[in-house]
Symmetry: C2
Subunit: 148 residues, 2 copies
DNA sequence: CTTAGTGCAAAACCTTTGCAACTCT
DNA sequence: AGAGTTGCAAAGGTTTTGCACTAAG
C-alpha cells in the first residue's frame, strides 16, 4: 500500500513538489480503501479538514497521481471518472462486479486473467500493460428482492 | 446482425414508434460496422442525408437503442460515450485493445472469458448478464516506431 | 385523435484552463 | 530566487431537459 514517503519519492523523481494539498488528497484514498472516489467525492472529503482546497486542484492532483501510477482511473458509466489506489505491487488485479439494479460496485479478485492476457499478447502482437474488466449483472441481494 | 424489421418489432413491443430518425440513426451503425461511433459522429453522418435531424434526438435515440439492447454503450476514456451494434446473438463477445500511444481501438475475439464468467458467477453469487474487457498497451505499429 | 417523438435553445454537468498570488525546494 | 502549485472564475465540452410543434399508430 502506498504511503506518504512513497508519494514524496515519486514526486521528487519528476521534480514535482510535495504540497499539503497533494498529501490531503492521497490521504482521502488511504482513509477510504473500499470506495471508488470521484473528484467531487474527494472534494467533499478534504473540504472538512481543508476548506480552502479548490476543486480544480483536486482534478489536477487526480490526474497527476494517475500519471504517477499511484491512482488508477476507472469508469463505471455514471458520467464521471472515479479513482482508486493502484495496487500495482500485487501481480493479480481485481475487477468490478457492477449491479444493474442497485448500482453497487463490488471488487472481485482474480488470477485467471493473466493467462488470457499472455495469450492475447502473443496472438495479436499487442504489448499489454494494463487491463480493465467489468461484469454487469445482479447482486445477490437484488436477486432475492425479485427481478428488476 | 440487426435490421430494420427487428428494430420495428423491438420498438412495437414497448409501444415506441418507428420514426425515420430512428431508422436513419440505426442505419449509420449498419453502414459503419467497424467503428465505435460517438453521438457527434452519428450526428455528422446523418446530417448529410437528414439535415434537420437534431443532436438531442441522436442522444435520445442512442439511449433508447441501448435500452433495447440494439446498441452497446462503450467507454474508451476519451470523454464521450461511444456505441456499437450489440451482437448479442453470438455467444462470444469481442473485446478492445486500446493503444496508449496512438489511441486506436482494435477488436479482439475471444471465447476464453466465458469460462471465467461462469466461475465468477458461481463463486460470488453474482448473476452476470454482460461484461466488458479492455486491454491497454501498445499496438504493433507504435512498438516499431519506438517507445512513447 | 391520442400519445409519443422531434428540434431548438437553454440548462446542467463534469472537467479544463488562464492568471495572479503563493509556496515548496 | 525560481520553478512549480494553488484558487478562483471563466470557458469548454458533452449530455440532458423544457416546451411548442409534428408525426406515428
Amino acid at each position: 500500500m502506498i504511503n506518504m514517503v512513497d508519494l514524496k519519492e515519486k514526486l521528487r523523481e519528476r521534480q514535482y513538489k510535495l504540497t499539503s494539498q497533494r498529501q490531503t488528497i492521497l490521504q482521502s484514498f488511504i482513509d477510504n480503501p473500499d470506495r471508488h472516489l470521484s473528484a467531487e467525492d474527494v472534494y467533499n472529503i478534504v473540504r472538512l479538514q481543508s476548506p480552502d482546497l479548490g476543486l480544480a486542484t483536486v482534478y489536477r492532483t487526480l490526474e497527476l497521481l494517475s500519471e504517477l501510477d499511484i491512482l488508477q482511473k476507472l469508469d463505471f458509466g455514471d458520467g464521471r471518472s472515479r479513482y482508486e489506489i493502484n495496487e500495482m505491487s500485487t501481480p493479480h488485479h481485481h475487477h468490478h462486479l457492477i449491479c444493474l439494479s442497485c448500482g453497487r460496485v463490488r471488487e472481485f479478485e482474480d488470477d485467471l486473467l493473466e493467462t488470457l492476457e499472455t495469450a492475447i499478447a502473443r496472438k495479436s502482437k499487442f504489448m499489454i500493460v494494463d487491463h480493465q474488466l467489468k461484469f454487469y449483472g445482479y447482486c445477490q441481494e437484488c436477486q432475492e428482492k425479485g427481478e428488476d
